[in-house]
């Protein structure tokens, strides 16, 4: 193994992620290689610089407010689902009654009835096609799977 092979191991060494066997091999290499020793020093220096960055810790009041925000979103989610289901049911029922009224009304011209029926079938075909496409994207999109995990 040469320095190029050892270079990726340096970071794992600094992070404490090397196996005992690899650590021993790397330490042996470091004892005779100035280049890798320098690179190790650079990595350690970078780690020390990054360790200077600390985030503010939320207080109990912050955490309470934060949880209240999450809770509100959870409740709102249920509200949206109920609103959507109710709206869809009412819209479907209204559309059915409207179409039924037009189709069964003897005063409405045949061409209008055919137009309405064609419109309904067209809308259903488009909806099913879009739904199938969305489901196919959802299956093949790695990102959406991760969200659902």
């Amino acid at each position: 193994m040469n320095c190029r092979d050892y270079e990726p191991m340096l970071a794992a060494y600094v992070d404490g992620e090397l196996s005992e066997q690899d650590r021993g091999r790397l330490q042996e290499h470091l004892s005779g290689c100035l280049g890798c020793t320098d690179r190790l020093a650079e990595l350690t220096a970078l780690q020390e610089e990054l360790a200077m960055i600390k985030f503010t810790e939320p207080t109990d009041v912050d955490l309470q407010r934060y949880w209240a925000g999450v809770y509100n979103r959870l409740e709102r989610g249920v509200g949206w689902i109920l609103l959507s289901v109710g709206s869809i049911l009412l819209l479907c029922y209204g559309a059915f009654k409207l179409i039924e009224g037009i189709v069964t009304d003897p005063k409405v011209a045949l061409v209008v009835k055919i137009g309405v029926v064609a419109l309904v079938f067209g809308a259903v075909i488009l909806f099913v096609s879009l739904l199938r496409e969305r489901l196919a994207v959802r299956k093949s999109d790695k990102y959406s799977r991760e969200i659902e995990r």
Binding site: L46, P58, W67, Y143, E148
Partner: protein, 181 residues
């Protein structure tokens, strides 16, 4: 995952929102930190991390418990953040995350516990890394996640985490060296 967390997860699965509240409060600080490192500003970090908790609650039935809750949650949060970045930059879902920069030029330092010229310089350098590099730096150095936890959260092999971290640190060193000149 410890026994207390396992108990809380079981209660959450049974629909106990109070138990979920305990989980949220226990992990909120880290969650905000991760989102802040990925999105670069406080309000977006709060929004994304809360959104991810809502998604986690809805997906709790699918959490298999093989990893710690936070590792699983971090995967959800990371994807919410990447999705926000794509939306803000109006990029499509096929856009590789390597090419997603922070949308605003100047990073917001409002959640940094300490400020100095040196700390600001390091923070700016981290924030100017591409997302794929920034996320491994944030997870490793600010979240203290192990390679295995990072691999689980990013859905990549441990070897990929090692090589990304290597590339990210090299890029960061170059950025910091460039600023010193």
């Amino acid at each position: 995952m410890d026994d207390a967390e396992r108990t809380l997860i079981g209660q959450c699965r049974a629909g106990d929102k109070a138990a979920f509240g305990q989980l949220v409060r226990a992990h909120a600080g880290r969650a905000i930190g991760l989102a802040y490192g990925l999105l670069g500003n406080r309000s977006d970090a709060l929004d994304a991390s809360q959104d991810a908790f809502v998604r986690a609650w809805r997906a709790m039935g699918r959490f298999d418990g093989r990893s710690a809750f936070y590792t699983w949650y971090a995967a959800i949060l990371r994807n919410v953040c990447v999705s926000q970045l794509r939306k803000r930059l109006r990029r499509g879902p096929d856009e590789p995350i390597e090419s997603l920069p922070l949308p605003s030029g100047e990073p917001d330092p409002s959640l940094l516990a300490e400020r100095s010229e040196r700390i600001d310089r390091i923070w700016r350098a981290v924030m100017s890394l591409p997302t794929a590099h920034r996320e491994v730096i944030v997870m490793k150095h600010f979240q203290e996640m192990s390679y295995r936890q990072m691999a689980e959260s990013l859905s990549v092999p441990v070897g990929t985490v090692t090589s990304r971290l290597h590339a990210a640190r090299r890029a960061l060193r170059e950025l910091l060296a460039g600023e010193r000149v």
